[in-house]
Symmetry: C2
Subunit: 453 residues, 2 copies
């Protein structure tokens, strides 16, 4: 059966349930801890910050499937199923025997996969009768997705945006405004934690960790508000499993077994969602597929971090999570373009990496933009810098296949589009882009601040 | 049979031939005239400016179908078939009994339908052994599409971009550069005609008419180059018929007959392509579908222009076309956002309008952006300002149905995305956007310059 350029599922073939990978993990991700007591966060404690149903999803590591509410499935049908693309043009250009597939999540106005969890989180907030939600955003993809979802459901949406992205991507603010959200560059003087961070480091360009602290404080200080997060958390990976489930259904239609699955990894939302059902097979001993997390060399939590309990945020107002981390005070160099700026990594992915089920590699940003431009010219899609990390690794692996002659099936996640990243593309074209790799001393200093339990 | 949110055809169901609407027109569009002789342009004369195969397509008004070359069909498969969307959410929000459908052409990195003709024109240029092509672009969509197509085929691409768009959309230049094109703001001092226009009007913000003059001169002055155009011409409408053919196949699958088809109209490429097979049925007496062209009140060629021979460009270096025109010297007010800035209209659409087969209406831009924002929030797609003209009219017609209780089938063309139009969205949000309607005196003055034959 010939594989078409794009495999589209019918709406009937879309998943009716999210898959909870934790149910198949022998070593479960460690629980979140209350930093004051050192004990696992209770459901009640978490419900002060998060929506109730989401807390249930966060804590439940045994139920394998969660039925997707009809309203969320209806929203999904506005932009899903997303295409699984066979990269025939890229294969030909690379002269590789590998078969390359990518699951493309950029065909919606938020421009990325983030919408999959945004609508779920907004739905549960609305169902709980809340007035609004607060959040952080790095590159702006999550903030845009959440503002779309909130606008659809009539919820207020307050976004703290990492300052360097706010400045590099002036139009991101405007698209969030189109969807009715308010956007504040972070760190800001609108929160106590923001003022403290600014006082300690007035020139900081911000980080996801800072913005999370501010958004959490904003949620706690307004009645009828909760905080929502676009990555890292177990609940987010649960929602994002829709990516992997669709990809698996599409591949199964053509009896294709992936040998290698590649995704970019910042907090882990895309990678965790993409690999979920395939990793489930591996954990159950039904597959020997390999999985590669690709992270920026400027923020290498898996490849150079440590596996330890750490704060999820810079301001240390959030619970502790056991994860690969660079230290909650780590702030990547401002010359780094785009997202993937988070100091930690999803506890689920951290555990899988620790247990040897997941590989990781770090790539430098000029190599990433070379791959991005190459891909745009060959496949006709302008990728987000984040997504281009996965493209870089997929191209590298396809070139290995050219050497070895292996016709491997490579699947990677193309998480989104780069329309709001043209400043970074311009720097790349003008030869002004530099790589940025933290020194060992820098990392050691940052890791010295890990909490002692 | 329930209609899904999105009807995707399989790749096998994609058209294998373009449809040439002229074959079904009793009153054919008038031939292009040589301004020096007043006689129809010969094939030989046109081949100095355009590629040979495209000249054949331009002149042929009797062959109903043109087989689409395999290489173009392969390229189409990178981003086509495009979805036909049932706007369930919009219908519900409007509380209308109308069924609203839109053919969405924004799911490719050029962000619009323009790629359909760009790849065709680049293909024939390559097949003829040319080194490169020159063109103009207004809002930047055509230039982006052509640079993508040229990059794919390894052709040089030189783009003259209307100055006001070049300044309003700094990132458009960068995306064209990502695809390897060179971009010059027009009018420029790189051509004789550009220098003359600048001398006469140093503060001009440019127009498509100016940029066309410059691009034609650039093609004529470089060996191995030809000029290509993104709209107006018969050949472009031929290529764009792929939009309408796909839409018709998708609707036929569900036995849906549109009552009303709506498209925005600048030069006419999208509207002409979208309506082609449906208009063919009407011309053959097989349907009584209505067709509405929606144009900006700031550049109202159908609703306030005259049907006459006029120059296709401001610099008067191009052939004369018989079309609805505001005069080749007409330049829309600079506060007008986006494309649709052309003084004339496709000769095919002009003839259909003249003969009563096509209706037209003009809309003001604040009403257009209201519709754009409304649509974005409800349907989750951020539309281009051009596309939002059609959305405005579709919403208005759906509201009429709410009054009359009629369950009409309304189809409109959603030509592209607004990611590069955030400056205009920002002006709208900040209350700084104004409408701009030329006065009768302005139009009379512009029309006084029509050539006398």
């Amino acid at each position: 059966m010939d594989v078409p350029y794009k495999i589209y599922l019918s709406e009937d073939q879309m998943p009716r349930a999210w898959y909870n990978l934790r149910a198949d993990m022998k070593n479960k991700p460690a629980p979140l801890l209350n930093p004051a007591t050192g004990k696992p966060m209770t459901k009640q404690e978490l419900c002060g910050v998060f929506c109730e149903e989401l807390v249930e999803q966060e804590l439940n590591d045994s139920t394998p499937y969660y039925s997707i509410p009809q309203a969320i499935r209806d929203f999904y049908r506005m932009y899903r199923p997303s295409p699984l693309v066979r990269a025939y043009c890229l294969e030909e250009k690379l002269q590789t025997p590998a078969h390359i597939y990518y699951k493309y999540e950029g065909n919606n106005s938020s421009g990325s996969h983030k919408l999959n969890s945004a609508i779920a989180q907004a739905y549960y907030a609305k169902a709980q009768g809340l007035k609004g939600v607060t959040t952080e955003t790095g590159a702006g993809q999550w903030g845009t997705a959440l503002s779309m979802a909130c606008s659809y459901l009539g919820l207020d949406c307050q976004v703290y945006m990492v300052k360097v992205s706010y400045e590099q991507k002036p139009f991101r603010r405007e698209i969030m405004r189109t969807f009715g959200a308010s956007v504040t560059p972070s760190p800001s003087d609108t929160t106590q934690v923001g003022r403290a961070i600014l006082e300690a480091n007035p020139d900081t360009t911000g980080s996801l960790g800072c913005a999370i602290s501010e958004a959490v404080e904003a949620a706690l200080s307004q009645p009828g508000y909760r905080y929502v997060l676009g990555s890292v958390l177990n609940q987010v990976l649960l929602h994002q499993s829709v990516i992997g489930l669709e990809a698996k259904t599409a591949l199964d239609l053509y009896r294709i077994k992936p040998d290698l699955i590649i995704g970019c990894a910042g907090g882990g939302s895309n990678l965790g969602g993409l690999i979920a059902p395939f990793m489930g097979e591996k954990l159950r001993g039904e597959s020997d597929c390999r999985f590669i997390a690709v992270e920026p060399a400027s923020c290498p939590s898996l490849t150079r971090g440590v596996f330890a309990y750490d704060f999820a945020d810079t301001g240390r107002v959030c619970p502790l999570a056991r994860m690969y981390t660079l230290g909650s005070g780590f702030i990547p160099a401002p010359n780094h373009a785009g997202g993937l700026r988070y100091h930690g990594m999803s506890p689920i992915l951290s555990q899988l990496y620790h247990d040897g089920y997941l590989e990781a590699r770090a790539v430098e940003q000029r190599a990433v933009f070379q791959a991005a431009e190459y891909f745009a010219r060959v496949e006709g899609i302008l990728p987000a810098p984040e997504s281009a990390h996965a493209i870089r690794a997929a191209i590298d692996e396809a070139l290995v296949c050219r050497q070895t002659g292996e016709a491997k099936n490579i699947l990677f996640g193309l998480t989104g589009t780069g329309y709001f990243d043209m400043v970074a593309y311009q720097r790349f074209h003008d030869g002004e882009m530099t790589d940025s790799v933290p020194s060992d001393e820098e990392l050691a200093a940052s890791l010295a601040s890990l909490p002692r339990l």
